[in-house]
Amino acid sequence: MSYTEPIRIVRGSQKYQGALDKDVVISQTLETTTRDVLEGERNAVVNLNEQYFLEKEECTSYRPYGKISPLVDNTISGDVKDSKMLGYWTYYYPPTPLATETQAPGYPAISFFDFFTPTGMTNLHGYSEPTSYKGNWKIYQSYVVSGNTKVNMEYYTNQPTDDGVGFNSGDGIPFSVSGVTINGKEALQFICPVEHGLLNGEYIVLQNSVTVFPIGTTNLITQINGSSQVPIFSFGNEEYGNEKKTFNVLLREPTAGWTDGDVGVFKRLSDPDNSGETTSRYYVHTHKLLTDVEDSVIDRAAFELGVYTKRQRYYRDDQSPPFGSGHTVVKNQTESYLWNFNKDLDVGGYLNNLNMPLSNIYITVLVGNEPRVWRTSDPSNPNVTTAGIGWSWNFKPDGYIDLYPANNYEQLFTPNTIPKKGDNFLGAFVEYNEFELKERTISDIFHRLTFNSNMMDDGGDVIREGYFYPPHHTIPIRKYSQSIMTYKDYRFVPPHAIFSTYDNLWRWRTIYEIGFFDEEDNGVEYPFVNGYHYTYKNINFFIKPELLDKSFLTDGIIGPLESDDCE
């Protein structure tokens, strides 16, 4: 806008009488109401590689898919009572029962373990063709939503006397002790059922809470050398390769306060000066299901069969109770199945139990039990779960036993109630060290199956032996760095950084880019197409027998023949 008043410029001497001439400067300011556009703002660099990388890194949507092969050694037999199961789906052992029998000993057909059920296999099997691939097993996606420190656990050290220790998952790792001499020094040897996770120079903190208690005739060890905080002296004993499960502590007073076989629970402590941050926490993962059973798609992997020999037998009419109908039964066979989900998974809004972006998603396989060959709830006993839970030390057939089914934390009521999206199930028993920012799996969880005594029993009793399987199978989608980053200013750290009051710094592990590996297996790489990540998982689904104190070989492979199949 121009200046509206007229301007006259006159010399100073002409302003008034006596005035002097002087230099007058009229400053003209230049104000701009616009800004020049910089070169970088006018032009966009179009780089397909960069664009693809950007999209891949920012994408949080996944389409997991893969193959699953149930692997089972069908070794547990019983007296089959269900007429349909007996007539067509029992591998009779010993063979050649009379066709008039209403009950006969034998093994369940492999179809009770397989993903595909060809028809109704028991009188209680509510069979339908469209769901025939989901009758025995249900597949879900899940993630770890929280940690549970209240899960009751037991560790038995002596089967005949049932000695052991009871504790909660938050109390730490159980052990039993034994007195030893190391280089002439008296020491106490700690024997753990799982890897202790300790390193040289570290400490253990013995636990003494109301949730830790001895079972049987053992005593609870809560202090050594007058303290609950004890340094580690060495690892292992004279046996090879058990350093990860055995460690030793030197004793000042060799005979005080303990006897061989006493038990206890400890937590790992890496730095006594910073015990608040370097004492490990222990808990059990809680998995939340992300899908419904209808969202999974299961189908055969063409004609793929496993490497193990198919074992089958034909029974004539006169050998086939109770219907007298000749048939073939397959006892052992391994088939493969392809799985995927018709609902896509966006992990963008999810944080795991440590409030960090998800680094793993899980494929959760739960027993469906549509044929009801496994024990399940019924009107007379509605609180019986289909699958109990156990840990790696619970199911060892060499002496350490778990009193299953007393430990029924898992509320799985299939087939009466089918798990759905949002349901929670327990997962692995883990250790987390806040200073190391690292979670370590101590023991995976296993589900234990017991035969339904209405279908099969052991001379009128419930068959004590059963099977167990791992329900959760990890699919890594991101990896965290091996090294820990630190910085003092919160404005320049990622949201998952943890503030250490000990060294007054924010600490975090960097999330690696997809395709970057800092060592052989610390990294992930998978295809990114259609705007989704395609992660593949080949699951060997082991269904293992829990044989307790029974001879492992009950199949008579080596024993003398009781009768000839050809007779």
Binding site: E41, A44, V46, L48, Q51, Y52, E55, R63, F116, P118, S128, E129, P130, S132, E294, V297, D299, N342, N530, G531, Y532
Partner: protein, 291 residues
Amino acid sequence: MTVNKIRIRATTGDTNIVIPIATTFDESMGKSDALNLWDLDQVQNNINPILDFETERFSPRTIGPNFKIFYSLLFATQPQPTGTLSDYSPDYTYVGITYPDIKDRKNNFIKSFFKFDFYGSPETTGNKVFFSIILPINNGTAISRQISNDPADPNYDSLAYQNAYAEDPLGAPYFYDVESSNFEFSSVGKSKENYYIQWLKNDFVIPNIDFYMSCKFFNASSGKIHRFINKPQQVTQYTLKGRDFFYYRIRFDRSNYTYKFYEYNDSVGMNGAEVGGTTGTPIEFVEYINP
């Protein structure tokens, strides 16, 4: 901290207090961020647009038990149109594929097939096929047919007859099962082929949910392609309106990844009943008879 002692006196006329708050940031920063986002969006749309071509398995959601689906593809038994459905048969003999050919799995049988084309609209001009399904004919349901011992009969099968005779000399006439052109598909077993249809999982690329299915038979015995229509021709009716005769309508449901077939012709007002769920209401095509 310097604190001004400000006293506000209430008067009857004033109801608002205006407190100016100084800003120390540049409001144009938000515009700059928005421009950056717009920039990213434009780059993505122009050099690397993401189109989702993933397919998903769609299963039939028919009215019958176990969601089975039934096709009945019938060949003309008469040389001229009669307008009568009973003048059509699910028997390959009428197109030169005999029972011995079927039983012995001759090439003219195993290399013949039906082809279903799925069009985007029922219009016969400017239309295009979005996908096709090949139906091998060895998946047909079995029908019982008499074993012929007549050399003049195209289905003459002396070897089968002699075998049957040797087994039961007094049992004539003898029969065996051969595949027909009726099909029953289910979610398990051999009949699973073509039960499921793979189609785009999302509607970003092709938003259509309705497609129009036509049928052709590729005859490996004669080399001919037989066109099929959804109802019998009337006598001397050779010119057919495509919308009325050529199609069944399939509708995909992406909420649960299922599909259904419906009748599609003039007499049902292009909005016919669901078909394919039972043996009594199959997806029925009959052979078109050329003049």
